[in-house]
């Protein structure tokens, strides 16, 4: 059996402990807020697979997340809120969307990829916004039935939090194993040395397609639970500005470190929620924080933290190791 290094097991244990303690300590509002952080963080983490590993900067990630949200909401409206049905419908729709997008981005890179994903995402938004009979248009869909699992109704803040936490944890482990698997390594290789990778016989379009599918599946799972936090889904969840927000969260947290995505989404949403209570200028705040991080910590808070912590830990250990 492969040993799990301490540096990886310790944060995981801490995360589990936090997940277990939060329902006992936090109130209803904060549990819902934490659930939102976890779901958006999961989507941002899946974006990190594309941006951090593959260098594929996409502005269409909200289309995957939002398509899943709409598919899950529509399935719940017509067939009831069974958890597995909702998750299946949302993830399936997102995988379909990711397959479309994956085919589209096979040959594009850099700015072309950015614009192509933006255009495709906006097509999805236009459909969600104008197809009133199915998506409710600008009003979105309200009155969703609560999630259920067999005889249990999962509509309390505690249940929603635990559900989101479980999903985030499972998604993290999945993303981690994707990054460590040959396909994840190949994705990094395709970013760093595309010419050598194709000379070695790798098909870069195929690697990109699979990465897009993996990211779409994870974002879709998070997106399919998202409408049930507030029993509402609206067209903003598909709009490209949510894609841009996800990129901001990713950069604040740290591109390339999967768990940084949760940190970034927590900081962004906390700024949005708490600063906007004091001033209308919270976007100015977010912009300033973002620019400062790009200027001072190009690897994000996660990179800054691990860099600093690992540095001091290494210092302590080497001192102790000396005779």
């Amino acid at each position: 059996m492969r040993d799990i290094p301490l540096s990886r097991a310790a944060p995981l244990a801490a995360a589990l402990l936090a997940l277990a303690l939060a329902p006992l300590l936090a109130g209803a509002f904060h549990l819902r807020f934490l659930a939102e952080i976890l779901l958006l963080g999961t989507a941002v983490m899946s974006l990190d697979l594309l941006v951090g590993l593959g260098g594929l900067v996409t502005l269409g990630h909200a289309a995957l997340f939002g398509t899943a949200a709409y598919a899950a909401a529509i399935a719940a409206l017509h067939l009831g809120g069974n958890l597995f049905l909702v998750l299946g419908a949302g993830t399936g729709a997102a995988l379909l969307m990711a397959a479309l997008m994956g085919v589209a981005i096979m040959r594009s890179s850099h700015l072309f990829l950015l614009i192509l994903t933006l255009l495709l995402g906006q097509v999805a938004w236009e459909v969600a916004f104008h197809w009133r009979e199915v998506t409710g248009g600008a009003d979105g869909l309200r009155g969703l039935p609560p999630l259920s699992l067999g005889p249990w109704r999962l509509d309390g803040p505690r249940a929603l939090f635990l559900l989101s936490g479980g999903l985030a944890l499972a998604a993290y482990l999945l993303a981690r194993s994707f990054a460590d698997a040959p396909i994840g390594r190949a994705l990094v290789g395709a970013r760093e040395q595309p010419l050598r990778m194709s000379a070695l016989g790798y098909s870069i379009p195929r690697i990109r397609f699979r990465a897009m599918l993996a990211a779409g599946g994870i974002a879709g799972a998070a997106g399919s639970l998202y409408p049930f936090l507030n029993l509402y889904v609206g067209p903003q969840s598909v709009h490209w500005s949510l894609s841009a927000t996800m990129i901001i969260m990713l950069v604040i947290g740290g591109v390339g470190s999967l768990w940084g995505a949760f940190l970034g989404s927590a900081i962004y949403l906390a700024l949005q929620t708490y600063v906007s209570a004091y001033t209308d200028r919270w976007q100015l705040f977010v912009g300033l924080v973002f620019v400062l991080i790009v200027l001072l910590l190009p690897r994000g808070l996660a990179g800054g933290l691990t860099g600093g912590l690992a540095g001091s830990l290494a210092g302590v250990l080497s001192r102790r190791g000396r005779p």
């Binding site: 614009i115 104008h130 010419l195 976007q283």
Partner: protein, 289 residues
């Protein structure tokens, strides 16, 4: 017949606006390899300056140089810090930095100019309609087409036919050699960025008569300008012209033919262009990897 001509002119006037905005973006992108997502902010700043100027009673035609100067000044400030440090960085870092700055600019403008929609009071000379084949057509849009063609030509002459343009293109190709000739390339690149920002402001002033000015317009314009530059193909003047025509015509005629799902059709068409030609309409032949 008259209807088709009027719609074509509509598309052309929109293309002219896209061309001017896109050129500002494409000049820094092609000459300095710098992606400036704050360009939408320069555009909106120009729009606000023009709206305030036209409402103030000062000579109307000075609104356009005023917008150019205001946006150019903002560009000069931002060029000194932090743009200058990012010229040599990868595109991703430039995109992130300038997007963050555009968020800050957008919120500062919302603070300063308010959140309502501001429409300029057009001078009498630009108001009214002309009749083409018995169809009314706003005079302002004809003015826009003329201004777009004239400014586009002027910029092309400046970059392609003057000594300054030659020095600039030489500095892009080999900065070191140009510096050994005793030319300060830092000033040169700063001038290009100021020119680009000023162009953004000027196109904002021209566009205000057609699109008005409101928070959020900066992002809409930025997206369209980016699509224009990218669909056309990076790094060439002709590419931006082609991109502006494609985007302008796609958006205008999809509204005529498919009013319900206009943007779906237009965006799909643009995405289709990018799928068929992943490096833009007019692109130097590159090896595909």
């Amino acid at each position: 017949m008259g209807y088709a001509i009027v719609q074509t002119l509509n598309a052309l006037s929109f293309s002219a606006l896209l061309l001017l905005t896109g050129l500002g973006l494409s000049v820094v992108l092609s000459l300095m390899n710098f992606v400036n997502l704050a360009h939408g902010g320069f555009y909106l700043l120009g729009s606000y300056v023009a709206v305030l100027w036209l409402g103030s009673g000062a000579p109307w035609w000075l609104a356009f140089p005023a917008a150019f100067l205001a946006a150019g000044l903002a560009g000069a400030v931002l060029e000194r810090f932090p743009f200058r440090r990012f010229y040599a960085r990868p595109h991703l870092m430039q995109v992130l930095l300038t997007y963050g700055l555009s968020v800050i600019m957008a919120d500062l403008m919302r603070w300063g100019f308010g959140a309502q929609i501001l429409t300029p009071e057009l001078p009498a000379a630009l108001q009214g309609v002309v009749f083409l084949f018995d169809m009314p057509f706003p005079l302002y849009r004809l003015f826009l087409i003329g201004a777009g063609v004239a400014l586009g030509l002027l910029l092309w002459l400046l970059l392609d036919r003057t000594l300054w343009g030659a020095v600039l293109r030489a500095a892009v190709t080999d900065r070191g050699i140009v510096e050994t000739l005793g030319i300060d390339t830092r000033h040169l690149f700063a001038a290009v960025l100021v020119l680009s920002a000023g162009l953004g402001g000027l196109s904002g002033a021209l566009g205000a008569g057609m699109l008005a000015a409101y928070p959020g317009l900066d992002e809409e314009v930025l997206i369209l300008a980016l699509v224009t530059v990218v669909v056309g193909g990076l790094g060439s003047f002709g590419g931006t012209v082609a991109g502006a025509l494609v985007v302008g015509f796609a958006l205008t005629f999809s509204k005529v033919w498919f009013p319900e799902f206009a943007n779906v059709v237009a965006f799909s068409a643009m995405a289709g262009f990018l799928l068929l030609r992943p490096n833009g309409l007019i692109a130097p032949p590159l090896r595909q990897i």
